[in-house]
Amino acid sequence: MTVSSIIAASDSRMGYSPARRAFMRLSQSKAFAITVVVVAIVAIWYAFAVYLNTPWQLTVYERGDVQWTAADLVRDTLAQERPVLPAPHQVLVEIWNTTVTMNPASRRSLLFHSWVTLSSTLLGFVIGTLLGMLLAVGIVHNRAMEKSVMPWVIASQTIPILAVAPMIIVVLNAVGLTGLLPKALISTYLSFFPVVVGMVKGLRSPDVLQLDLMKTYNASRWQTFWKLRWPSSMPYLFISMKVAVAISLVGAIVGELPTGAVAGLGARLLAGSYYGQTVQIWSALVMAAAIAACLVAIVGMAHRMVLARMGQST
Protein backbone atom coordinates (compact mmCIF):
# COMPACT_ATOMS: atom_id res chain seq x y z
CA MET A 1 0.00 0.00 0.00
CA THR A 2 1.48 3.32 -1.03
CA VAL A 3 1.31 6.42 1.05
CA SER A 4 -1.13 8.18 -1.22
CA SER A 5 -3.53 5.28 -1.19
CA ILE A 6 -3.48 5.28 2.61
CA ILE A 7 -4.39 8.94 2.60
CA ALA A 8 -7.13 8.29 0.06
CA ALA A 9 -8.49 5.44 2.16
CA SER A 10 -8.55 7.51 5.34
CA ASP A 11 -10.17 10.33 3.39
CA SER A 12 -13.02 8.21 2.14
CA ARG A 13 -13.68 7.01 5.66
CA MET A 14 -14.60 10.53 6.72
CA GLY A 15 -18.08 9.90 5.42
CA TYR A 16 -18.43 12.79 2.94
CA SER A 17 -19.07 12.23 -0.73
CA PRO A 18 -16.23 13.32 -3.07
CA ALA A 19 -18.34 16.17 -4.45
CA ARG A 20 -19.08 17.42 -0.96
CA ARG A 21 -15.41 17.20 -0.05
CA ALA A 22 -14.39 19.09 -3.18
CA PHE A 23 -16.88 21.81 -2.28
CA MET A 24 -15.52 22.03 1.26
CA ARG A 25 -12.00 22.31 -0.03
CA LEU A 26 -13.17 25.02 -2.44
CA SER A 27 -14.90 27.03 0.28
CA GLN A 28 -11.69 26.91 2.31
CA SER A 29 -9.62 28.26 -0.56
CA LYS A 30 -8.43 31.83 -0.85
CA ALA A 31 -9.52 32.25 -4.47
CA PHE A 32 -13.10 31.33 -3.59
CA ALA A 33 -13.22 33.82 -0.73
CA ILE A 34 -11.81 36.59 -2.90
CA THR A 35 -14.27 35.82 -5.69
CA VAL A 36 -17.22 35.97 -3.29
CA VAL A 37 -16.07 39.31 -1.89
CA VAL A 38 -15.52 40.74 -5.37
CA VAL A 39 -18.97 39.59 -6.52
CA ALA A 40 -20.46 41.17 -3.40
CA ILE A 41 -18.66 44.45 -4.11
CA VAL A 42 -19.92 44.50 -7.71
CA ALA A 43 -23.47 43.79 -6.51
CA ILE A 44 -23.26 46.62 -3.98
CA TRP A 45 -21.87 48.89 -6.71
CA TYR A 46 -24.89 48.14 -8.95
CA ALA A 47 -27.30 48.72 -6.06
CA PHE A 48 -25.70 52.09 -5.31
CA ALA A 49 -25.66 53.02 -8.99
CA VAL A 50 -29.42 52.51 -9.15
CA TYR A 51 -30.00 54.31 -5.86
CA LEU A 52 -27.78 57.32 -6.58
CA ASN A 53 -28.97 57.81 -10.15
CA THR A 54 -32.67 57.53 -9.32
CA PRO A 55 -33.36 61.19 -8.38
CA TRP A 56 -32.10 62.49 -11.73
CA GLN A 57 -33.95 59.77 -13.64
CA LEU A 58 -37.19 60.67 -11.82
CA THR A 59 -36.91 64.31 -12.86
CA VAL A 60 -36.33 63.15 -16.45
CA TYR A 61 -39.50 61.03 -16.30
CA GLU A 62 -41.45 63.90 -14.77
CA ARG A 63 -40.35 66.36 -17.43
CA GLY A 64 -41.08 63.93 -20.23
CA ASP A 65 -44.34 62.87 -18.55
CA VAL A 66 -43.43 59.24 -19.03
CA GLN A 67 -45.20 56.26 -17.50
CA TRP A 68 -42.55 54.07 -15.91
CA THR A 69 -42.22 50.79 -14.09
CA ALA A 70 -39.55 49.63 -11.65
CA ALA A 71 -37.85 47.64 -14.42
CA ASP A 72 -37.65 50.76 -16.60
CA LEU A 73 -36.16 52.71 -13.73
CA VAL A 74 -33.43 50.15 -13.10
CA ARG A 75 -32.58 49.88 -16.81
CA ASP A 76 -32.48 53.65 -17.33
CA THR A 77 -30.48 54.44 -14.19
CA LEU A 78 -27.79 52.06 -15.39
CA ALA A 79 -27.60 53.71 -18.84
CA GLN A 80 -27.42 57.42 -18.14
CA GLU A 81 -25.15 59.72 -20.08
CA ARG A 82 -23.68 61.44 -17.01
CA PRO A 83 -24.60 59.29 -14.04
CA VAL A 84 -23.75 60.20 -10.47
CA LEU A 85 -22.26 56.73 -10.18
CA PRO A 86 -21.76 54.83 -13.44
CA ALA A 87 -22.49 51.11 -13.43
CA PRO A 88 -19.49 48.76 -13.80
CA HIS A 89 -20.50 47.68 -17.31
CA GLN A 90 -20.68 51.32 -18.47
CA VAL A 91 -17.13 51.84 -17.30
CA LEU A 92 -15.97 48.66 -19.02
CA VAL A 93 -17.69 49.65 -22.27
CA GLU A 94 -16.06 53.09 -22.10
CA ILE A 95 -12.65 51.49 -21.56
CA TRP A 96 -13.23 49.08 -24.42
CA ASN A 97 -14.31 51.94 -26.73
CA THR A 98 -11.37 54.16 -25.88
CA THR A 99 -8.69 51.48 -26.02
CA VAL A 100 -9.45 48.68 -28.45
CA THR A 101 -11.65 50.35 -31.02
CA MET A 102 -9.70 53.59 -31.15
CA ASN A 103 -6.40 54.53 -32.78
CA PRO A 104 -3.85 54.55 -29.93
CA ALA A 105 -2.25 57.72 -31.28
CA SER A 106 -5.51 59.65 -30.99
CA ARG A 107 -5.74 62.14 -28.12
CA ARG A 108 -9.09 60.68 -27.12
CA SER A 109 -7.62 57.22 -26.72
CA LEU A 110 -7.15 56.02 -23.16
CA LEU A 111 -4.07 54.08 -24.25
CA PHE A 112 -2.40 57.32 -25.33
CA HIS A 113 -3.03 58.90 -21.92
CA SER A 114 -2.03 55.74 -20.08
CA TRP A 115 1.25 55.66 -21.97
CA VAL A 116 2.00 59.28 -21.07
CA THR A 117 1.44 58.50 -17.41
CA LEU A 118 3.22 55.17 -17.52
CA SER A 119 6.34 56.58 -19.17
CA SER A 120 6.83 59.28 -16.55
CA THR A 121 6.04 56.78 -13.81
CA LEU A 122 8.72 54.41 -15.06
CA LEU A 123 11.31 57.15 -15.60
CA GLY A 124 10.68 58.52 -12.10
CA PHE A 125 10.74 55.06 -10.60
CA VAL A 126 14.07 54.17 -12.21
CA ILE A 127 15.72 57.45 -11.18
CA GLY A 128 14.22 57.20 -7.69
CA THR A 129 15.38 53.62 -7.21
CA LEU A 130 18.92 54.38 -8.36
CA LEU A 131 19.08 57.48 -6.17
CA GLY A 132 17.72 55.50 -3.23
CA MET A 133 20.31 52.76 -3.72
CA LEU A 134 23.16 55.28 -3.92
CA LEU A 135 22.01 57.07 -0.79
CA ALA A 136 21.64 53.76 1.03
CA VAL A 137 25.16 52.67 0.08
CA GLY A 138 26.49 56.03 1.26
CA ILE A 139 24.57 55.83 4.52
CA VAL A 140 25.81 52.32 5.26
CA HIS A 141 29.45 53.14 4.52
CA ASN A 142 29.80 56.66 5.91
CA ARG A 143 28.97 57.49 9.52
CA ALA A 144 28.74 61.24 9.00
CA MET A 145 26.28 60.67 6.19
CA GLU A 146 24.25 58.27 8.28
CA LYS A 147 23.96 60.67 11.20
CA SER A 148 23.16 63.75 9.15
CA VAL A 149 21.24 62.51 6.10
CA MET A 150 19.05 59.75 7.53
CA PRO A 151 16.90 61.97 9.81
CA TRP A 152 16.26 64.30 6.88
CA VAL A 153 15.35 61.48 4.56
CA ILE A 154 12.65 60.59 7.07
CA ALA A 155 11.65 64.22 7.67
CA SER A 156 11.39 64.81 3.92
CA GLN A 157 8.48 62.38 3.82
CA THR A 158 6.41 64.08 6.51
CA ILE A 159 6.19 66.96 4.05
CA PRO A 160 3.14 66.44 1.85
CA ILE A 161 5.31 66.47 -1.25
CA LEU A 162 2.39 66.04 -3.61
CA ALA A 163 1.32 69.50 -2.52
CA VAL A 164 4.55 70.84 -3.99
CA ALA A 165 3.87 69.08 -7.28
CA PRO A 166 2.17 71.99 -9.07
CA MET A 167 4.97 74.30 -8.10
CA ILE A 168 7.73 71.99 -9.20
CA ILE A 169 5.99 71.61 -12.54
CA VAL A 170 5.50 75.34 -13.01
CA VAL A 171 9.03 76.21 -11.89
CA LEU A 172 10.62 73.58 -14.11
CA ASN A 173 8.48 74.72 -17.03
CA ALA A 174 9.71 78.26 -16.45
CA VAL A 175 13.32 77.03 -16.55
CA GLY A 176 12.58 75.37 -19.86
CA LEU A 177 12.16 71.78 -18.73
CA THR A 178 8.88 70.53 -20.09
CA GLY A 179 7.24 67.26 -20.86
CA LEU A 180 8.27 64.05 -19.20
CA LEU A 181 11.02 65.07 -16.80
CA PRO A 182 9.18 67.40 -14.34
CA LYS A 183 6.51 64.77 -13.70
CA ALA A 184 9.13 62.07 -13.42
CA LEU A 185 10.95 64.14 -10.80
CA ILE A 186 7.88 64.09 -8.57
CA SER A 187 7.72 60.32 -8.91
CA THR A 188 11.43 60.23 -8.11
CA TYR A 189 10.96 62.21 -4.92
CA LEU A 190 8.19 59.91 -3.79
CA SER A 191 9.86 56.65 -4.73
CA PHE A 192 13.40 57.18 -3.43
CA PHE A 193 12.29 57.10 0.20
CA PRO A 194 11.04 53.52 0.55
CA VAL A 195 14.09 52.34 -1.39
CA VAL A 196 16.53 54.15 0.93
CA VAL A 197 14.87 52.80 4.06
CA GLY A 198 14.55 49.23 2.76
CA MET A 199 18.00 49.16 1.21
CA VAL A 200 19.74 50.44 4.36
CA LYS A 201 17.96 47.74 6.31
CA GLY A 202 18.97 45.16 3.71
CA LEU A 203 22.62 46.19 3.48
CA ARG A 204 22.81 45.94 7.27
CA SER A 205 21.05 42.57 7.38
CA PRO A 206 24.16 40.30 7.23
CA ASP A 207 24.90 39.36 10.82
CA VAL A 208 28.20 39.77 12.66
CA LEU A 209 29.16 36.16 12.06
CA GLN A 210 29.00 36.56 8.28
CA LEU A 211 30.86 39.87 8.38
CA ASP A 212 33.55 38.26 10.54
CA LEU A 213 33.84 35.43 8.06
CA MET A 214 34.47 37.94 5.26
CA LYS A 215 37.15 39.49 7.47
CA THR A 216 38.89 36.15 8.03
CA TYR A 217 38.88 35.71 4.24
CA ASN A 218 40.73 39.05 4.12
CA ALA A 219 37.96 40.43 1.89
CA SER A 220 38.20 44.07 0.95
CA ARG A 221 35.34 46.48 1.60
CA TRP A 222 34.46 46.24 -2.07
CA GLN A 223 34.34 42.45 -1.99
CA THR A 224 32.30 42.41 1.23
CA PHE A 225 29.86 44.74 -0.45
CA TRP A 226 29.41 42.78 -3.68
CA LYS A 227 29.60 39.27 -2.26
CA LEU A 228 27.75 39.70 1.02
CA ARG A 229 25.89 42.96 1.58
CA TRP A 230 24.47 43.40 -1.92
CA PRO A 231 23.00 39.88 -2.29
CA SER A 232 21.52 39.91 1.21
CA SER A 233 19.81 43.24 0.56
CA MET A 234 17.86 41.91 -2.43
CA PRO A 235 14.68 40.76 -0.61
CA TYR A 236 14.45 44.12 1.16
CA LEU A 237 15.08 46.02 -2.05
CA PHE A 238 12.28 44.29 -3.93
CA ILE A 239 9.72 44.80 -1.16
CA SER A 240 10.62 48.50 -1.14
CA MET A 241 10.42 48.65 -4.92
CA LYS A 242 6.84 47.37 -4.81
CA VAL A 243 5.88 50.30 -2.59
CA ALA A 244 7.97 52.68 -4.69
CA VAL A 245 6.42 51.75 -8.01
CA ALA A 246 2.88 52.15 -6.67
CA ILE A 247 3.69 55.53 -5.17
CA SER A 248 5.47 56.81 -8.28
CA LEU A 249 2.30 56.16 -10.27
CA VAL A 250 0.42 58.36 -7.77
CA GLY A 251 3.13 60.99 -8.20
CA ALA A 252 2.85 60.92 -11.98
CA ILE A 253 -0.94 61.25 -11.87
CA VAL A 254 -0.88 64.17 -9.44
CA GLY A 255 1.94 65.76 -11.43
CA GLU A 256 -0.37 65.87 -14.44
CA LEU A 257 -3.08 67.84 -12.64
CA PRO A 258 -1.54 71.31 -12.62
CA THR A 259 -0.15 71.26 -16.14
CA GLY A 260 -3.55 72.44 -17.34
CA ALA A 261 -4.86 69.01 -18.34
CA VAL A 262 -2.65 68.34 -21.35
CA ALA A 263 -2.21 64.58 -21.40
CA GLY A 264 -2.11 61.63 -19.09
CA LEU A 265 -4.50 59.90 -16.73
CA GLY A 266 -4.36 62.81 -14.27
CA ALA A 267 -5.31 65.24 -17.03
CA ARG A 268 -8.10 62.87 -17.98
CA LEU A 269 -9.42 62.97 -14.41
CA LEU A 270 -9.24 66.76 -14.33
CA ALA A 271 -10.97 67.16 -17.70
CA GLY A 272 -13.64 64.70 -16.65
CA SER A 273 -14.33 66.64 -13.48
CA TYR A 274 -14.55 69.95 -15.39
CA TYR A 275 -17.15 68.62 -17.81
CA GLY A 276 -18.97 66.27 -15.43
CA GLN A 277 -18.00 63.21 -17.49
CA THR A 278 -18.24 60.68 -14.70
CA VAL A 279 -17.84 57.66 -16.96
CA GLN A 280 -14.58 59.12 -18.23
CA ILE A 281 -13.32 59.71 -14.67
CA TRP A 282 -14.14 56.17 -13.64
CA SER A 283 -12.56 54.64 -16.70
CA ALA A 284 -9.35 56.60 -16.04
CA LEU A 285 -9.47 55.43 -12.44
CA VAL A 286 -9.93 51.79 -13.38
CA MET A 287 -7.11 52.11 -15.90
CA ALA A 288 -4.83 53.61 -13.23
CA ALA A 289 -5.73 50.77 -10.88
CA ALA A 290 -4.96 48.20 -13.57
CA ILE A 291 -1.59 49.81 -14.31
CA ALA A 292 -0.75 49.89 -10.59
CA ALA A 293 -1.66 46.23 -10.25
CA CYS A 294 0.45 45.27 -13.30
CA LEU A 295 3.49 47.25 -12.14
CA VAL A 296 3.37 45.73 -8.66
CA ALA A 297 2.94 42.27 -10.17
CA ILE A 298 5.94 42.78 -12.50
CA VAL A 299 8.16 43.84 -9.60
CA GLY A 300 6.89 40.84 -7.66
CA MET A 301 7.79 38.54 -10.56
CA ALA A 302 11.27 40.05 -10.83
CA HIS A 303 11.60 39.49 -7.10
CA ARG A 304 10.81 35.79 -7.40
CA MET A 305 13.10 35.38 -10.42
CA VAL A 306 16.07 37.04 -8.73
CA LEU A 307 15.60 35.04 -5.55
CA ALA A 308 15.30 31.82 -7.54
CA ARG A 309 18.48 32.70 -9.43
CA MET A 310 20.20 33.27 -6.09
CA GLY A 311 19.11 29.84 -4.95
CA GLN A 312 16.54 31.02 -2.44
CA SER A 313 12.97 30.09 -3.14
CA THR A 314 10.27 32.18 -1.59
Binding site: I41, A144, P160, V164, M167, G272
Partner: protein, 287 residues
Protein backbone atom coordinates in the same frame (compact mmCIF):
# COMPACT_ATOMS: atom_id res chain seq x y z
CA UNK B 1 26.62 86.45 -9.70
CA UNK B 2 27.90 87.49 -6.30
CA UNK B 3 31.24 85.79 -5.65
CA UNK B 4 31.56 86.94 -2.02
CA UNK B 5 28.21 85.41 -1.03
CA UNK B 6 29.01 82.20 -2.89
CA UNK B 7 32.43 81.89 -1.25
CA UNK B 8 30.95 82.48 2.20
CA UNK B 9 28.29 79.84 1.51
CA UNK B 10 30.87 77.35 0.33
CA UNK B 11 33.06 78.02 3.38
CA UNK B 12 30.08 77.57 5.71
CA UNK B 13 29.15 74.32 3.99
CA UNK B 14 32.70 72.95 4.23
CA UNK B 15 32.92 74.00 7.88
CA UNK B 16 29.68 72.35 8.97
CA UNK B 17 30.50 69.24 6.95
CA UNK B 18 33.87 68.90 8.69
CA UNK B 19 32.25 69.54 12.08
CA UNK B 20 29.59 66.95 11.37
CA UNK B 21 31.99 64.22 10.31
CA UNK B 22 34.13 64.99 13.35
CA UNK B 23 31.09 64.73 15.64
CA UNK B 24 29.83 61.56 13.97
CA UNK B 25 33.24 59.91 14.13
CA UNK B 26 33.69 60.37 17.89
CA UNK B 27 32.61 57.81 20.43
CA UNK B 28 30.47 59.72 22.92
CA UNK B 29 31.50 59.51 26.57
CA UNK B 30 28.00 59.07 27.99
CA UNK B 31 24.45 58.28 26.91
CA UNK B 32 23.45 61.93 27.29
CA UNK B 33 26.31 63.02 25.05
CA UNK B 34 25.25 60.44 22.45
CA UNK B 35 21.70 61.74 22.51
CA UNK B 36 22.85 65.34 22.23
CA UNK B 37 25.02 64.38 19.25
CA UNK B 38 22.12 62.62 17.56
CA UNK B 39 20.17 65.87 17.75
CA UNK B 40 22.98 68.30 16.92
CA UNK B 41 24.21 66.51 13.78
CA UNK B 42 20.92 66.51 11.81
CA UNK B 43 20.08 70.03 13.00
CA UNK B 44 23.45 71.26 11.71
CA UNK B 45 22.78 69.49 8.44
CA UNK B 46 19.37 71.16 8.15
CA UNK B 47 20.82 74.60 8.88
CA UNK B 48 23.50 73.95 6.27
CA UNK B 49 20.84 73.15 3.69
CA UNK B 50 18.98 76.39 4.46
CA UNK B 51 22.20 78.43 4.27
CA UNK B 52 23.16 76.72 1.00
CA UNK B 53 19.73 77.50 -0.42
CA UNK B 54 19.92 81.13 0.70
CA UNK B 55 23.48 81.50 -0.55
CA UNK B 56 22.84 79.91 -3.93
CA UNK B 57 19.59 81.84 -4.48
CA UNK B 58 21.31 85.15 -3.66
CA UNK B 59 24.77 84.35 -4.97
CA UNK B 60 23.63 83.30 -8.42
CA UNK B 61 20.89 85.93 -8.43
CA UNK B 62 18.18 83.37 -9.17
CA UNK B 63 14.92 85.25 -9.75
CA UNK B 64 12.54 84.99 -6.80
CA UNK B 65 9.88 83.63 -9.16
CA UNK B 66 11.88 80.43 -9.50
CA UNK B 67 13.42 79.92 -6.09
CA UNK B 68 12.85 82.50 -3.36
CA UNK B 69 15.52 82.44 -0.61
CA UNK B 70 14.33 81.15 2.80
CA UNK B 71 14.53 84.62 4.35
CA UNK B 72 11.98 85.89 1.84
CA UNK B 73 9.67 82.95 2.56
CA UNK B 74 9.96 83.62 6.29
CA UNK B 75 9.09 87.27 5.74
CA UNK B 76 6.02 86.19 3.78
CA UNK B 77 4.98 83.81 6.56
CA UNK B 78 5.18 86.49 9.23
CA UNK B 79 3.34 88.99 7.03
CA UNK B 80 0.37 86.81 6.13
CA UNK B 81 -0.45 84.90 9.30
CA UNK B 82 -4.25 85.47 9.05
CA UNK B 83 -4.44 84.00 5.53
CA UNK B 84 -2.24 81.07 6.44
CA UNK B 85 -4.30 80.41 9.56
CA UNK B 86 -7.58 80.49 7.59
CA UNK B 87 -6.18 78.03 5.06
CA UNK B 88 -4.79 75.83 7.82
CA UNK B 89 -8.13 75.83 9.64
CA UNK B 90 -10.09 74.95 6.49
CA UNK B 91 -7.76 72.19 5.30
CA UNK B 92 -6.20 70.74 8.40
CA UNK B 93 -8.65 71.22 11.28
CA UNK B 94 -11.78 70.54 9.25
CA UNK B 95 -10.91 68.18 6.39
CA UNK B 96 -7.81 66.34 7.61
CA UNK B 97 -8.62 65.80 11.28
CA UNK B 98 -12.28 64.87 10.75
CA UNK B 99 -11.51 62.63 7.77
CA UNK B 100 -8.57 61.05 9.59
CA UNK B 101 -10.63 60.27 12.69
CA UNK B 102 -13.53 58.82 10.69
CA UNK B 103 -11.36 56.87 8.24
CA UNK B 104 -9.10 55.35 10.88
CA UNK B 105 -12.06 54.66 13.17
CA UNK B 106 -14.03 52.92 10.43
CA UNK B 107 -11.00 50.92 9.30
CA UNK B 108 -10.40 49.83 12.88
CA UNK B 109 -14.00 48.76 13.53
CA UNK B 110 -14.26 46.86 10.24
CA UNK B 111 -10.96 45.14 11.01
CA UNK B 112 -12.24 43.97 14.40
CA UNK B 113 -15.36 42.63 12.68
CA UNK B 114 -13.35 40.97 9.92
CA UNK B 115 -11.09 39.34 12.49
CA UNK B 116 -14.03 37.28 13.78
CA UNK B 117 -14.58 35.57 10.42
CA UNK B 118 -11.88 33.45 8.84
CA UNK B 119 -13.74 33.62 5.52
CA UNK B 120 -13.76 37.42 5.40
CA UNK B 121 -10.11 37.46 6.44
CA UNK B 122 -9.22 35.27 3.48
CA UNK B 123 -11.39 37.19 1.03
CA UNK B 124 -11.18 40.80 2.17
CA UNK B 125 -7.54 41.05 3.18
CA UNK B 126 -5.96 40.49 -0.27
CA UNK B 127 -8.42 42.99 -1.73
CA UNK B 128 -7.61 45.48 1.03
CA UNK B 129 -3.92 45.03 0.31
CA UNK B 130 -4.54 45.54 -3.39
CA UNK B 131 -6.66 48.66 -2.88
CA UNK B 132 -4.08 50.13 -0.48
CA UNK B 133 -1.58 50.10 -3.39
CA UNK B 134 -3.96 51.82 -5.82
CA UNK B 135 -3.82 55.53 -6.66
CA UNK B 136 -6.85 56.25 -4.46
CA UNK B 137 -6.19 59.95 -4.78
CA UNK B 138 -7.96 59.68 -8.16
CA UNK B 139 -11.35 59.50 -6.47
CA UNK B 140 -10.93 63.16 -5.50
CA UNK B 141 -12.88 64.53 -8.51
CA UNK B 142 -15.71 62.10 -7.83
CA UNK B 143 -15.92 63.08 -4.19
CA UNK B 144 -15.92 66.77 -5.13
CA UNK B 145 -18.82 66.05 -7.49
CA UNK B 146 -20.77 64.14 -4.84
CA UNK B 147 -20.17 66.19 -1.72
CA UNK B 148 -19.65 69.68 -3.08
CA UNK B 149 -16.77 72.13 -2.97
CA UNK B 150 -16.55 72.60 0.79
CA UNK B 151 -14.49 70.55 3.23
CA UNK B 152 -16.91 67.60 3.23
CA UNK B 153 -15.59 66.28 -0.07
CA UNK B 154 -11.99 66.60 1.14
CA UNK B 155 -12.85 64.77 4.35
CA UNK B 156 -14.44 62.03 2.22
CA UNK B 157 -11.25 61.60 0.19
CA UNK B 158 -9.25 61.43 3.42
CA UNK B 159 -11.66 58.82 4.84
CA UNK B 160 -11.24 56.52 1.84
CA UNK B 161 -7.46 57.01 1.73
CA UNK B 162 -6.94 56.25 5.42
CA UNK B 163 -9.44 53.39 5.61
CA UNK B 164 -7.50 50.68 3.81
CA UNK B 165 -4.06 51.01 5.45
CA UNK B 166 -5.85 50.95 8.82
CA UNK B 167 -7.93 47.90 7.86
CA UNK B 168 -4.99 45.89 6.58
CA UNK B 169 -2.66 46.74 9.46
CA UNK B 170 -5.24 46.16 12.18
CA UNK B 171 -6.29 42.77 10.79
CA UNK B 172 -2.64 41.78 10.63
CA UNK B 173 -2.08 43.05 14.15
CA UNK B 174 -5.08 41.25 15.59
CA UNK B 175 -3.65 37.94 14.43
CA UNK B 176 -0.20 38.80 15.82
CA UNK B 177 -0.84 37.34 19.27
CA UNK B 178 0.74 33.94 19.97
CA UNK B 179 -1.25 30.74 19.90
CA UNK B 180 0.12 30.04 23.39
CA UNK B 181 -1.19 33.36 24.70
CA UNK B 182 -4.59 32.73 23.16
CA UNK B 183 -4.67 29.28 24.73
CA UNK B 184 -3.80 30.82 28.07
CA UNK B 185 -6.77 33.19 27.73
CA UNK B 186 -8.96 30.16 27.02
CA UNK B 187 -7.75 28.34 30.12
CA UNK B 188 -8.66 31.49 32.07
CA UNK B 189 -12.18 31.09 30.56
CA UNK B 190 -11.86 34.59 29.07
CA UNK B 191 -14.72 35.64 26.81
CA UNK B 192 -14.33 37.16 23.33
CA UNK B 193 -14.30 40.75 24.59
CA UNK B 194 -11.87 40.02 27.39
CA UNK B 195 -9.50 38.32 24.96
CA UNK B 196 -9.90 41.25 22.58
CA UNK B 197 -9.15 43.97 25.10
CA UNK B 198 -6.57 42.21 27.25
CA UNK B 199 -4.60 40.28 24.64
CA UNK B 200 -5.39 40.99 21.00
CA UNK B 201 -5.61 44.78 21.00
CA UNK B 202 -2.42 45.32 23.02
CA UNK B 203 -0.63 42.89 20.70
CA UNK B 204 -2.02 44.77 17.70
CA UNK B 205 -1.04 48.20 19.03
CA UNK B 206 2.31 48.46 17.16
CA UNK B 207 0.56 47.60 13.89
CA UNK B 208 -2.26 50.06 14.56
CA UNK B 209 0.17 52.85 15.32
CA UNK B 210 2.10 52.03 12.17
CA UNK B 211 -1.13 52.59 10.20
CA UNK B 212 -1.87 55.78 12.14
CA UNK B 213 1.57 57.12 11.21
CA UNK B 214 1.25 56.20 7.53
CA UNK B 215 -2.21 57.75 7.49
CA UNK B 216 -1.09 61.03 9.05
CA UNK B 217 0.94 61.79 5.92
CA UNK B 218 -1.67 60.37 3.53
CA UNK B 219 -4.45 62.45 5.08
CA UNK B 220 -2.70 65.77 4.51
CA UNK B 221 -1.78 64.82 0.92
CA UNK B 222 -5.35 63.71 0.21
CA UNK B 223 -6.93 66.90 1.50
CA UNK B 224 -4.52 69.19 -0.35
CA UNK B 225 -4.72 67.35 -3.66
CA UNK B 226 -8.53 67.13 -3.44
CA UNK B 227 -8.59 70.92 -3.30
CA UNK B 228 -7.03 71.06 -6.77
CA UNK B 229 -10.34 69.74 -8.11
CA UNK B 230 -12.57 72.48 -6.81
CA UNK B 231 -12.81 74.36 -3.56
CA UNK B 232 -14.14 77.51 -1.92
CA UNK B 233 -11.61 80.35 -1.97
CA UNK B 234 -9.82 79.18 1.15
CA UNK B 235 -7.63 76.19 1.88
CA UNK B 236 -3.99 75.18 1.51
CA UNK B 237 -4.42 73.33 -1.77
CA UNK B 238 -6.45 76.19 -3.23
CA UNK B 239 -3.85 78.75 -2.15
CA UNK B 240 -1.01 76.72 -3.63
CA UNK B 241 -2.65 76.27 -7.03
CA UNK B 242 -3.93 79.88 -7.12
CA UNK B 243 -0.63 81.50 -6.14
CA UNK B 244 1.31 79.31 -8.57
CA UNK B 245 -0.81 80.71 -11.39
CA UNK B 246 -0.04 84.25 -10.19
CA UNK B 247 3.66 83.34 -9.80
CA UNK B 248 3.66 84.34 -6.10
CA UNK B 249 6.12 81.58 -5.38
CA UNK B 250 7.06 82.89 -1.94
CA UNK B 251 3.44 82.45 -0.82
CA UNK B 252 3.46 78.89 -2.17
CA UNK B 253 6.61 78.12 -0.21
CA UNK B 254 5.07 79.69 2.89
CA UNK B 255 2.07 77.40 2.49
CA UNK B 256 4.37 74.41 1.98
CA UNK B 257 6.31 75.32 5.10
CA UNK B 258 3.05 75.39 7.08
CA UNK B 259 2.05 72.03 5.60
CA UNK B 260 5.45 70.55 6.41
CA UNK B 261 5.35 71.76 10.01
CA UNK B 262 1.75 70.59 10.42
CA UNK B 263 2.59 67.18 8.93
CA UNK B 264 5.69 66.75 11.09
CA UNK B 265 3.88 67.80 14.28
CA UNK B 266 0.97 65.50 13.47
CA UNK B 267 3.39 62.61 12.94
CA UNK B 268 5.34 63.51 16.05
CA UNK B 269 2.25 63.63 18.27
CA UNK B 270 1.22 60.15 17.10
CA UNK B 271 4.75 58.86 17.66
CA UNK B 272 4.67 60.27 21.22
CA UNK B 273 1.30 58.63 21.94
CA UNK B 274 2.72 55.39 20.55
CA UNK B 275 5.69 55.55 22.93
CA UNK B 276 3.33 56.15 25.85
CA UNK B 277 0.99 53.27 24.98
CA UNK B 278 3.36 50.62 23.61
CA UNK B 279 6.08 51.26 26.19
CA UNK B 280 6.48 47.48 26.56
CA UNK B 281 7.43 46.89 22.93
CA UNK B 282 11.09 46.00 22.20
CA UNK B 283 11.44 48.76 19.60
CA UNK B 284 10.51 51.38 22.23
CA UNK B 285 12.32 49.83 25.19
CA UNK B 286 15.50 49.43 23.19
CA UNK B 287 15.51 53.22 22.89
Amino acid sequence: MNVAVLTATGAFWAGTWALNSWLAGRTPSSAAAARARDIVVPVLFGITLLVLWEGIARGFGIPAVLLPPPSMVWERITNSVPTLWADFYQTFIKAVLIGYALGCGAGFLVAVAVDRSAFLKRGLLPIGNFVAALPIIGIAPIMVMWFGFDWHSKAAVVIVMTFFPMLVNTVEGLSASNAIDRDLMRTYAAGYWQTLFKLKLPAAAPFIFNALKINSTLALIGAIVAEFFGTPIVGMGFRISAEVQRLNVDMVWAEIAVAAVAGSVFYGVIALIERAITFWHPSVRGG
